[in-house]
């Protein structure tokens, strides 16, 4: 279980957020929402271990994630809002690399990309020649083979068309049903059952 224990995030002297406490149990989809600049990405960075909170703790199964980062990293699949992969690599190469370093099966890359609607030439051309939506799908294709229990995604719906958005949200719901935990930031409402945390109110 992922827990926020009275997290406070500051930027300079200004308090961005908090104190925020919440439990994100297995089997749940959590939707972090709020207007621009409220600190969604900063909170995401805190909960994947990229930035220490200025006060409070983030805990995974009871362990502070900054004390024992390995236990979180082993179960984590994090897709940043600007994740594309190196523009000089092809979709297959970029995904193979990501899967290999995150401990997944690299050979499943091509199938995963197909599942996310990338076929033919878009698999073998440098990423820089793909559209923003296609690049987004290359980054998200990790989810197709991910064995990680905890999915953390920053603005995954950006640049996707309506059909892909729905398919992605269904994937979140399935992952939760299978006992996983999903944390998503988004400006738009999710078309599935999700536990909403409004950061503007926190």
């Amino acid at each position: 279980m992922l827990q926020f224990d009275s997290i406070v995030l500051r930027r300079g002297r200004k308090t961005l957020l908090g104190p925020l406490s919440a439990d994100l149990p297995p089997g749940s989809v959590t939707h972090l929402q709020g207007p621009n600049g409220v600190g969604k990405t900063t909170l995401i960075h805190a909960l994947v271990g990229l930035r220490e909170p200025d006060a409070g703790q983030v805990r995974w199964n009871g362990d502070d994630i900054f004390e024992r980062p390995e236990s979180l990293r082993r179960v984590l699949c994090y897709v940043a809002h600007d994740a594309t992969g190196n523009a000089a690599l092809t979709a297959v190469e970029a995904l193979r690399f990501t899967l290999a370093v995150t401990g997944e099966e690299a050979d499943a890359a091509t199938d995963a990309l197909r599942e996310f609607g990338l076929t033919g030439r878009s698999l073998t051309q440098p990423l820089r020649t793909l559209s923003a939506g296609q690049q987004r799908r290359v980054a998200l294709a990790r989810l197709a083979v991910s064995k990680a229990a905890l999915w953390v995604l920053d603005e995954p719906l950006n640049a996707l068309d309506a059909a892909s958005r729905d398919a992605l949200c269904q994937r979140f719901a399935q992952h939760a049903q299978a006992g996983g935990t999903v944390v998503v930031t988004s400006h738009q409402p999710l078309p599935i059952d999700a536990h909403c945390i409004d950061l503007a109110a926190a």
Partner: protein, 221 residues
């Protein structure tokens, strides 16, 4: 294909597809070497006297200039976020980066340096020593550069800062690297400083990946 293979493959793919990242520092090296004689009398023996220093300084400048490519793209395209949150030990990845960068640019500079030295009138033996110290020394230069680049990855204008941090740290490699060449050129044995250059490089290359991993985690934003 294991993790090591994946990391290593990617570094080589990037080296070959982004050749300008290596060719630009090499061009810069050549231009620095070319521009110095324009400031003095080219027939003067002083040029041969300062040749080891100038060629080595040009190598240092080219290396500093090349460091930008180590983390620039990875920070921008989200690869760094993947690496920092992945279970793979980060220093492995950094070691592969260092190795590929060294074999790519280090070897190019090591080939170019003795040619430049010969143009300055160095003896064949001295040019040979220049080749050896540059190939050995660039590993150390780049190892220190790896840490400096990691420290400044979250900063908007890290480039100048990297140079300021690095130049004082480069003093020993520069002294031994250029000193070995100067010694051989004036007829003294150069083995001692050559060994020192190699030993220092090994020391830096051993310390750098774990330190750079610490640095990346604290600097990344």
């Amino acid at each position: 294909m294991g993790i090591w293979g994946a990391v290593w493959t990617r570094e080589w793919q990037l080296l070959f597809r982004q050749r300008q990242d290596l060719l630009q520092p090499l061009t810069y090296f050549t231009m620095v070497v070319m521009i110095v004689p324009l400031g003095v009398d080219p027939a003067d023996a002083v040029l041969t006297l300062v040749a080891p220093a100038i060629v080595w300084i040009a190598v240092v400048l080219a290396v500093v200039l090349s460091l930008d490519r180590l983390f620039r793209d990875d920070a921008r395209d989200g690869t760094l976020a993947v690496l920092l949150t992945a279970p793979t030990p980060l220093w492995w990845v950094l070691l592969a980066k260092l190795g590929a960068h060294w074999l790519g640019l280090g070897s190019l500079l090591a080939i170019a340096a003795p040619i430049a030295g010969a143009a300055y009138g160095l003896s064949l033996a001295a040019a040979g020593v220049l080749f050896v110290t540059v190939i050995a020394g660039t590993l150390g230069l780049m190892a220190l550069g790896l840490v400096a680049g990691a420290l400044t990855v979250g900063l908007r204008n890290g480039g100048v800062l990297v140079a300021i941090i690095l130049l004082p740290l480069y003093v020993p490699l520069l002294v031994f690297g250029a000193g070995a060449v100067a010694a051989v050129q004036s007829g003294f044995p150069g083995a001692g400083p050559v060994y020192f250059t190699a030993a220092l490089s090994m020391l830096y290359a051993t310390l750098a990946p774990p330190l750079a991993a610490v640095a990346l985690r604290l600097s990344y934003d």
